[in-house]
Amino acid sequence: MKNLTPLAQTYLDRFDAARRSLPGHASPAVTALRESGLARFKALDFPGRKVEEWRFTNLSPLTKGIEAMEAPATSLPVAEFKTPHVMTFINGRFSHANSALGELPKGLTLTSFASELDAGNSTLLESDAEDSRAVVALNTAFMEDGFVLTAAENTTLDTSILIRFVSLDGTADNARHMRNIIRLGKNATVTLLEEHAGADGHAYFANPVTDIALEEGARLNHYKFQAESNTAFHLATTDCEVPAGAHYENFSLSTGARLSRNEITTRITGDKALSSLNGAYLIRGHQHCDTTTITRHLVPENESKQVYKGILDDDAQGVFQGKIQIVPDAQKVSGDQLSRALLLSDRASVAVKPELEIHADDVKCSHGASSGELDEDALFYLQSRGIDGKTARKMLIDAFLADVLDEITDEAVRSFFAAITARWMEEV
């Protein structure tokens, strides 16, 4: 048998001790689930670069083992995004003291996943036993907390819910296997913003897995701000089922982590359903940011859209892999995908792999990918009117990002993200 990667081996070694303290340890069903996850992870290990889906993202800096770094623990930063509904996780555990869940409307519940496991509620994870993705299997074995959001039929929440995952140190186990569950009933509408953050200098591995199921006509605006520590690893996996008349909107803004991957799979299972996946990544230094989407049109008459934009400075590396699958008989489907990258340094690079697997003939699909530098002609034109070089660059970068930020329906989140991108550009 081949040797496991050093990090995978440490997980196998510590599983027996860990599971006795992980949530749900008293429940035989939860225990069985964890064991199945561990068995699958052991068989899979972390994906190497020979695995096609991971060809462009080399996990060896992670899998050789994370070294805890000597960085002082920090205190919880104040949330910049203002909303009355806040749920906070500190170092991978729900913090009641830093959450505000009192004002949620009737029909909407938001609980900690750990408490669900402790109550033996493993039914939330039915599909998990057959998942063949290594990071998901690892998460199943070690999942420790996360949020569980349910909305009853016709429940509408007008203000956003903020979920904060904050790492305050990079010591001890230095991994966060968060498991999040979202279930929206018929015609329910919810807006959710996840913040994943950690102070620079802390090394840890965040491995969140989010499982979403919408019922007919439901709408989820799902936003994510990934601002992990510049020495952290962040591998996120999100799955969403979008049935008839439902609308899933996802926007991920990534500025953090040494190495990150945001993998989203949507299964479109009804007519008039819409999957809208968008995002922006702004990276510099030696950051690596991977966006991988899999959009599966499983029935006729629905739609998917994707717009991703990246700005890369210094030695940063970006990856975009977008797969659109249209099964036979899924006619009258439309799928659009666009990926653009702006390289601010000649050492920065981006790898792009669009994949269209179309097995129906009456469909409308498009994909586009481009990468390039700032337009020197435009820069000179702005400067020739008296605008200084730095401001001119910022105007052009702003212009590059503007239309992708416009994809964000929620105004408050859009202006929050615009403020973050503006701050990032201050350092260009």
Binding site: F380, Y381, S384, R385, G386, I387
Partner: protein, 247 residues
């Protein structure tokens, strides 16, 4: 205002300007004419400070200062304006934002207070009316989807707004029909004053019917080969550049 002394400049490895001498005093309009490839546009880019246009020897003094030490934006703030032969399209940047940013950058440089959006809009509306430019252009991205004529008119609008001391016009007449040409010329003529000067680069004499120059120079192979008054332009129109080069 502007003194160009024995200016040599290269683009890439190629020497384009081979010793230009030209003095422009306040109140004067000079026209530089010449065949394609003579170095006309290179001269305008060198004066505006474009990267990649390298001055290998010679001097350019602007208001007594060494112009070549200044960045393009510093030159603009000190009153140099280049109307581009090919105005650049900038998707995602609204014309109004661009104009206001430029206008305020120049005010700030002069130590004047910046104007707010309302004030600016009022000002720019006056100018668009004068130049017969539709207001909706302000909402569109800079030059994106503009016709050739609209782009040139937009250049003149910017110039009217920024009120430069030294106007550089690079083939502003190309791509303009006669009505647009008149409007553009009108924009330049409005700015003519004893304190301002202009350098008009053109291939054809046509524009000079409307913007009457004080001096006309012929640029060929990187050098000024002949200078005269406005009658030189007419002579060139009649005989062509070839006759002149042969002479």
């Amino acid at each position: 205002m502007l003194e160009i002394k024995d200016l040599h400049a290269t683009v890439g490895d190629k020497e384009i300007l081979k010793g230009i001498n030209l003095t422009i005093k306040a109140g004067e309009i000079h026209a530089v004419m010449g065949p394609n490839g003579a170095g006309k546009s290179t001269l305008s880019y060198v004066l505006a400070g474009r990267e990649g246009y390298e001055v290998t020897s010679g001097d350019v003094l602007y208001k007594g200062e060494n112009l070549l030490d200044l960045s393009p934006d510093e030159r603009a703030c000190r009153g140099i304006f280049l109307a581009f032969q090919y105005p650049v399209e900038i998707p995602g940047v609204a014309s109004a934002t661009f104009l206001k940013t430029a206008y305020n950058a120049q005010r700030k440089f002069r130590g004047e207070s910046e104007v707010d959006a309302m004030e600016f809009l009022k000002l720019v509306r006056e100018k668009t009316k004068e130049l017969d430019i539709k207001d909706d252009m302000l909402k569109r991205a800079v030059n994106v989807g503009f016709s050739g004529g609209e782009k040139k008119r937009n250049e003149v609008l910017q110039m009217s707004l920024l009120e430069p001391d030294l106007m550089l016009l690079d083939e502003t007449d190309s791509g303009l029909d006669i009505d647009a040409l008149k409007i553009a010329a009108d924009g330049v003529n409005r700015l003519r004053s004893p304190e301002r000067a202009g350098l008009i680069i053109t291939h054809y004499q046509r524009l000079l019917d409307y913007i009457v120059p004080d001096f006309v120079h012929v640029l060929a192979d990187g050098k000024i080969v002949k200078s005269g008054d406005k009658s030189l332009a007419l002579e060139l129109e009649e005989k062509g550049y070839a006759a002149l080069s042969a002479a």
